[in-house]
Symmetry: C2
Subunit: 213 residues, 2 copies
């Protein structure tokens, strides 16, 4: 497998953490992608091979051993789940996916804010940023209300894809200075995250800025 | 099941067409959502029940019979696929999902253009629109190159989710006057689409504008 990757992308990190949890990370050729900061608002020069493999030209793109590009983090994680015999989706997939969808929609709001921040300032809309902040608040509140579904602790069982996605969303919220602390008013999520973030899969995939060229 | 819906949304139409193809459309309570045209750049008043069921507050949101909200069109289609015994994913899922991901990324570019067009004109970036046009061109070209995977004709077997998504992307391209004709230079896709668009599932889910209030 090949993974078009960068450590700054929380969508990409889902694939990295999933692969590490099931022991397949070392079987994947990691291709560091480079992105000029204008990626959010114009066509940029893509890292060699990215657009040729996946015309959507975004990351993550996981190319399977059979050569099929999966240019969507959900589909890439599901491929890894199939390879693991379903160990990442668990016994109640509908319930798991419904929590996953909330955390994934939260990450989408984070990335939309990132792209808006990268626009030239005269094209930036405060109301758009506020729309995403409102979405993030609603999603973290909903996750707190479902915190009994967050079971995996530091030394526990394999986490499912919902837990992985919640953990990455929380970590991204900590990383970017323009995002607020998710902890106030959410004690159950905060408590779970303190343990979850210590997993080796999380510790070895901490976010870092993407090379620009 | 309940589906928060509007006929203008191609992401939502994927769920509608999938449900119609497997004969479950009549089992779903359809909730028409309303969206002020400012939805693209500010928090708006949501249709009753939408944000309560799904904090991401977007469509489609499919609420399963067990009460789990699936607020992502891919996850909603996969739920329907499981209910159908896998009839919508077919014998080679990785290959199918890799084509699906291209068509889905194309639809995302269409919707990003729609949202950009809805911004007040002084906040609109031509380079952002061009980025999406470039993505759409690359994706349609890649689909044309893989047109041998588009098998389902008007009276043929059940289509898979990649075909449904390609058909909806092509239809949306025809619907919006600011999107170009996808046909020139793509004879195989064009020929397939002429037949596919006549399916009852497509004919009874034609796009129409969303009520604003």
């Amino acid at each position: 497998m090949k993974l078009f990757w960068t450590p700054a992308s929380p969508f990409t990190r889902k694939v990295s953490v999933a692969a590490k949890e099931i022991g397949l990370w070392d079987k994947i050729e990691i291709i560091q992608t480079k992105w000029p900061l204008s990626w959010g608002y114009e066509t940029v020069q893509f890292t060699a091979g990215l657009a040729e493999n996946n015309p959507v030209a975004r990351i993550p793109t996981l190319v399977t051993d059979a050569g099929h590009p999966l240019g969507c983090s959900t589909l890439a994680c599901q491929h890894l789940d199939r390879l693991s015999g379903g160990r990442l989706s668990g016994p109640d997939p509908d319930r798991m996916w419904s929590l996953y969808a909330i955390a994934d929609g939260l990450i989408e709001a984070q990335i939309l804010m990132r792209a808006e921040h990268l626009r030239p300032s005269e094209y930036r809309m405060e109301s758009f940023l506020q729309k995403q902040r409102d979405r993030i608040t609603r999603c973290f509140d909903a996750i707190e209300a479902r915190a009994d579904e967050l079971q995996t602790k530091k030394d526990g069982n394999l986490p499912n894809l919902a837990e992985i996605t919640v953990g990455i969303a929380a970590s991204y919220q900590d990383w970017r200075e323009w995002l607020e602390d998710f902890r106030p008013g959410r004690p159950s999520l905060s408590n779970w995250y303190e343990s979850f973030r210590m997993r080796p899969s999380m510790q070895t995939s901490e976010p870092a800025e993407t090379p620009e060229a």
